[in-house]
Symmetry: C2
Subunit: 145 residues, 2 copies
DNA sequence: TCAAACATCTTGACAATCAAAACATCTCCG
DNA sequence: CGGAGATGTTTTGATTGTCAAGATGTTTGA
């Protein structure tokens, strides 16, 4: 009855997407609590950590979806607290490169482990046969969105 | 090669979850732009709209995952801008019930349509045969998380 | 009845964010 | 080559979202 016709599938999916989003959001909040970092700050560290080849402020701002003005204050705080540092760009004197400090890298790695744990929990909800199916489907969706 | 062993599946899924989350987040931002509402405000309206049986401030705060103190200011602004109103609880004089105004309901409905459109776009990335599969899997995941 | 629990609001503080403007630097066209 | 326009960053001023702690009023249960 919930999945018989296309219209109700759409409604159902809409609710599921919202619930999923909210659960991830509060999971992130919980995981980040006690690190002294906000979710937004952790997100910045994640992006820098995943790149590992110093990004410019502009690039990081784009990845985060914020203006460079917002990023200035955020990176300023993260730098003050020793999670990352700004270094001059070798060839473009307008630009600064953002990199993780040792402390920043440590937090990044730990957080990444949490994400892997989350993925495990997600997969645990599915039959082994469904797991690759789901990953593939989500891949298609992310590519399309 | 990316999906052969369980470990890399976990890594892959982790990336996909992050990407999916980010895409939903920026989609929401874009959809809300120009309504005069922030994503957080729209979210509050959505929750009230979906319930439709007036919630108390406390309940709404729990659904949103914020303290009642935070909610006071948020609802205050939404009330000032005519999206919702506070009415005294019939039997508990400590409580206030939050309901949508006509204007609030109008925005709620429009936003809900956007969500349905998003769901459609998500489904469009999959073969018809996969669609119910995906909805079911996401349902299991959300239930488990 | 009255103490404890509860619902809300207020206050004070800070983080996140934007837009717009100020600077410095770079690039490219004439 | 030189200057105009593009680009990258920061600053400033404003708004929103958030919390914790405390104030106020209400309800509940022993």
């Amino acid at each position: 009855m919930t999945t018989k016709n296309p219209a109700s599938g759409r409604e159902e999916l809409s609710h599921l997407i919202i619930s999923f989003y909210e659960k991830i959001s509060s999971w992130e909040h919980a995981v980040v609590r006690g690190t002294g970092l906000s979710p937004a700050q952790m997100h910045a560290i994640e992006i820098v950590g995943h790149h590992e080849q110093s990004l410019r402020m502009k690039e990081l701002a784009e990845h985060l979806g914020v203006t460079t003005g917002s990023l200035t204050v955020m990176v300023g705080r993260l730098e003050q607290n020793g999670f990352l540092e700004r270094r001059p760009h070798e060839s473009d004197r307008r630009s600064l490169l953002v990199t993780l400090t040792g402390k920043g890298r440590k937090h990044f790695k730990k957080h990444h482990q949490y994400h892997l744990k989350l993925s495990e929990d997600v997969l645990a909800a599915l039959e082994p046969a469904e797991q690759q199916h789901f990953i593939k489907a989500l891949g298609l969706i992310v590519k399309r969105l």
